[in-house]
Amino acid sequence: MPQDEVYEAMSSAFEQGAPVALATVAQTLGSTPRKTGAKMLVREDGSFVGTIGGGCGEAEVWQEAMDALDDGDARMVTVDLTEPVDGEDKICGGIMRIFVEKLEA
């Protein structure tokens, strides 16, 4: 899967001296919307490029990315998609481990 959009956004952020947070799917178990290596880049203003899987856990990861931009700590986030949300059926039904890191030029 080509990731050039994410790398382009990263490069141009660094050219402007801005940090970014990068979320990368490190591991998946069961049925998940995206596979290992999928990436989402989050900027300080909260805007993002790329996806690690639409609604399924993405909001949670976005929040972790914002936190990482704040505190600078790399972290591994586990998103469990096997839990039904508000009585709805589980859509994805897998578990993703996502590595979230702050990067700056």
């Binding site: 050039d4 790398y7 490069s11 660094f14 490190a26 290992t36 590595f99 890191e101 030029a105």
Partner: protein, 278 residues
Amino acid sequence: MASSAEIARALLIAAREGPAVASCTVMGATDGVNAALGAKMLVYEGRNLGEIGGGPLEEAVAEFGRRAIPKHLVQTCAFTPDGQLVEGRRAIESADAIVEILVEVVEPASTLLVVGGGHVGLAVGQLGAMLGMEVVIIDDREDYANEERFPYEANVICGDFGEELEQFPITANTYIVLVSRGHKVDELALRTVAERGAGYVGMIGSKRRTRTVLQHLAEEGVDSEALDRVFTPIGLDIGAETPEEIAVSVLGEIILVRRGGGAQPMSEHGRLLAGKQR
């Protein structure tokens, strides 16, 4: 020491233009293991950019990365701090100390060059586009080589097969499917592309017809090793009949070439069934 900016630029170049690189990132480590989370090393054929802490671990990861490139691998791997690869969930869980490394091969999208814009070419291109390949369709008939005919992202070239194919850049990341209207065109196309190091060349046709084409080219002096590498008759044996099914069979074969695999049903039941149908 490479800066994040240098690494980001290098990844962008790898994703846009190539050559492929194995990007290796430290993503985790057992408590107490001294590892720099987020450290990145880009492994190219013959050189590295960036570092992940040096020592035997870095050497082992670089070696692993180099071998990952031709396999287009994207995988999180576990290593001991002294550089032994640990495989299997049980072994990883019972190991005292583990460093987790994401190894991902970053490279431009592969090109699917479809020679012939007929029914099969149309379906092959559609499936290729779905798989994220850059699709190029060549035909010399305007009715079969116009943008409207292909309701997906494709670069449609209408022109003389020989001339267009001679000009077309072919690399190890180019996958060529010969599905033109007749064996004369296929023969001409194969003559033009056979010796140029494509990742895959497949040609449609019955065993008899394709054998005749290969024989002609061998007699003309086309390199016999190159001809041996042509996948013909094309595709996996899944009993495909319709153009769309043939496209699945062809792209299945291309995935097999890219990723490796057994090309067998995963299940025992499936293998028994496939055996019966032979």
